[in-house]
């Protein structure tokens, strides 16, 4: 006969209610871990989307994400001719706000050359851009559907395809348009401003500017060696994919990451204290029963087993409720919540250890119980 099981079954409602409370708390901890992971993943998503090895940006900048970068569009041709480069593509990034069905959308516009690196990694619905102008591929989080039309700048674009999980480090959904459309959107002045410039006698600026050129390398090519080659041109800098990801995760979202990380740690500590208190209180409420058990001949091992098993059952049930909760609601968060199996397993292990340690407090109290306590009123 298992005493822990019998006690839980007897007080099932109360036990489940306690587990639910603990589950909600652990659900919050898991959500924070997921938000933390999501922040890092989202920060890297756009940089990983083109699946390239090298980023060529403006000299002495860490662009195009951490710092502004502008380079001439024809640089792409020069980069493509470097030995070891398989393909190169020009790319632009900018954030715009647009109206759609009466709602303001904040969008991260990526301009790319459809036949070159820089486009969306996967189209989950619809098709890729097939025309030179006025088509776009949007991320699902923008709330757009294929066939929707949306006005950006002075042009109207039709959504022809949808991607998934393509957002920038701020959580803004990405939309992909052709490079010429993106350059027009980013660099063309509005007609009144254009007229003022002409009246001042200023020369018309070239529109062929991009934020970066991305390059795919041969499998045996050294990204660092090609980066050194590129940097011999004094007006350019080259950043390997690895370095670009480091910039994004350690620089761009570092403070937010640390903030959430610290808060998650605090939540874990609070959870540990609450678990300890619950288990300790559960034990303290049973001291007379424990005294009776001791008096009728129960060994310390029997009593320790009962407390530890109940603590682990509480932790396991609460943790399962927490996982089920967060798995079911994570897609309703406005930003991505990424729960990797290893994160869940690590938290599960932490809960297991906390339950064991917490039950230690209860066990200590139980072992100190004098069997004589069962005698008398």
């Amino acid at each position: 006969m298992n005493l822990a099981y019998r006690d839980i079954r007897y007080n099932l409602g109360r036990f489940l209610l306690t587990c639910l409370g603990l589950g909600l708390l652990l659900g919050v901890v898991l959500a924070m871990i997921g938000i933390y992971r999501g922040l890092v993943v989202e920060a890297l998503t756009i940089a990983r989307a083109p699946a390239v090895d090298l980023w060529v940006v403006e000299a002495n900048t860490r662009g195009p994400f951490a710092e502004a970068s502008r380079i001439p569009g024809d640089i792409r041709e020069a980069i493509a001719r470097i030995a070891g480069v398989v393909a190169a593509g020009s790319i632009t990034y900018q954030t715009v706000e647009a109206q759609h069905q009466g709602t303001k959308l904040r969008l991260y516009v990526i301009g790319y050359e459809p036949t070159r690196p820089g486009g969306p990694p996967e189209i989950v619905q619809g098709r890729a851009i097939a025309r030179n102008h006025y088509e776009m591929v949007a991320d699902r989080t923008a709330g757009l559907e294929t066939g929707d039309e949306i006005r950006l700048g002075r042009s109207t674009f039709t959504v022809v395809g949808l991607t998934q999980h393509q957002v920038n480090s701020g959580g803004d959904p990405a939309i992909y348009i052709t490079l010429p459309d993106a350059q027009k959107l980013q660099f063309d002045l509005a007609p009144p401003a254009q007229r003022v410039q002409l009246a001042r006698g200023a020369a018309a600026a070239s529109r062929d500017t991009v934020n970066a050129v991305v390059a795919r390398l041969q499998p045996n090519a050294s990204a660092n060696a090609i980066a050194d080659t590129v940097q011999r041109w004094k007006h350019l800098s080259a950043i390997t994919q690895e370095a670009q990801e480091a910039i994004l995760s350690r620089s761009l979202v570092d403070r937010a990451r640390r903030q959430i990380g610290l808060f998650t740690s605090l939540l874990l500590v609070v959870s540990a204290v609450i678990i300890a208190l619950i288990i300790y209180t559960m034990t303290m409420e049973k001291l007379k029963q424990i005294a009776t058990l001791k008096l009728i001949g129960a060994s310390d091992r029997t009593i320790i087993g009962m407390i530890v098993q109940q603590a682990l059952a509480l932790g396991l049930t609460g943790f399962s409720i927490g996982v089920a909760l967060i798995v079911n609601i994570k897609d309703y968060f406005p930003r991505r919540v990424v729960l990797e199996p290893d994160n869940v397993l690590i938290l599960g292990f932490i809960v297991f250890v906390v339950c064991l340690l917490s039950s230690g407090l209860g066990v200590r109290a139980a072992l100190r119980v004098d069997p004589a306590m069962a005698l008398g009123g």
């Binding site: 006969m1 079954r9 007897y10 008096l295 009728i296 001949g297 069997p371 005698l375 008398g376 009123g377």
Partner: protein, 247 residues
């Protein structure tokens, strides 16, 4: 009423003393208590609060170590010069002593049968056999019809009979009862005392009870009065002056 047999006493105390604290704070709970209890005897311990009744019960129950003295239980030397002669007191309790409490103290999360069977399981009896023996005991104590009930659903008398069944599960020859009838009305108190008498005879056991319940004084073979830690024999019979009983 039974007279002490010529058998070896089941409980033999010789000059047992117990004090708490030292110096000015020293309290002598038991002073040179000597006592012999024989099989089939029902013994009552009386005394005012703080007189040492519970301390004496705890010493006999092997849950409190005395400061000095000797104790034998069922012919086995348990305490010599205030020192335990056995290291496994839990096993000693399990094998030799049954406890009956003022309130039945049944485990609320086990049904009646399991409350009795758990004692046997703790002693190493197979669970199925333990339950079988538990049901037999419950039938013997005329509470078998409640074998599946939870303790919260038992009447006071039923609860106490189940507690007695639990105390008897391992066939102990020494039964210690702490106010066994305090929570019962007169009728049920008499039933419980009749039952204890029956058990003492049929199981060749000794029963030592702490009680203040005047209604049951006449059911004991011997009544001892504790005053300031000293044991005073009130005589062989149940007769005791009311002023002593109420002290």
């Amino acid at each position: 009423m039974l007279t002490p047999s010529e058998d070896t006493p089941l409980v033999r105390l010789d000059r047992i003393s117990k004090h708490f604290g030292e110096g000015e704070t020293r309290v002598d709970a038991l002073r040179d208590v000597s006592l012999k209890v024989y099989p089939r005897q029902l013994i009552a311990l009386l005394g005012p609060s703080g007189s040492g009744k519970t301390t004496l019960l705890n010493v006999i129950g092997c849950i409190l170590d005395p400061s000095s003295g000797m104790m034998e239980l069922d012919g086995e030397l348990v305490i010599q010069d205030g020192r335990w002669q056995r290291s496994d007191l839990r096993r000693l309790r399990l094998d030799k002593i049954g406890f009956i409490f003022q309130f039945h103290n049944l485990l609320p999360f086990l049904n009646v049968t399991d409350n009795v069977a758990i004692v046997l399981q703790l002693a190493g009896v197979d669970w199925a056999d333990a339950r079988k023996r538990a049901v037999e005991l419950l039938d013997y104590l005329e509470v078998g019809h409640r074998k599946d009930a939870m303790p919260a659903n038992l009447s006071g008398g039923e609860g106490q009979r189940v507690a007695i069944a639990r105390a008897l599960a391992n066939r102990p020859r020494i039964i210690l009862a702490d106010e066994p009838t305090a929570a019962l009305d007169s009728k049920r108190a008499e039933i419980v005392m009749d039952l204890l008498r029956k058990l003492a005879i049929e199981q060749d056991a000794a029963i030592i009870a702490v009680t203040h319940d005047e209604k049951i004084f006449d059911r004991f073979d011997h009544i001892f009065q504790l005053r300031d830690g000293r044991l005073e024999d009130s005589g062989d019979g149940p007769s005791i002056s009311m002023d002593m009983a109420q002290a």
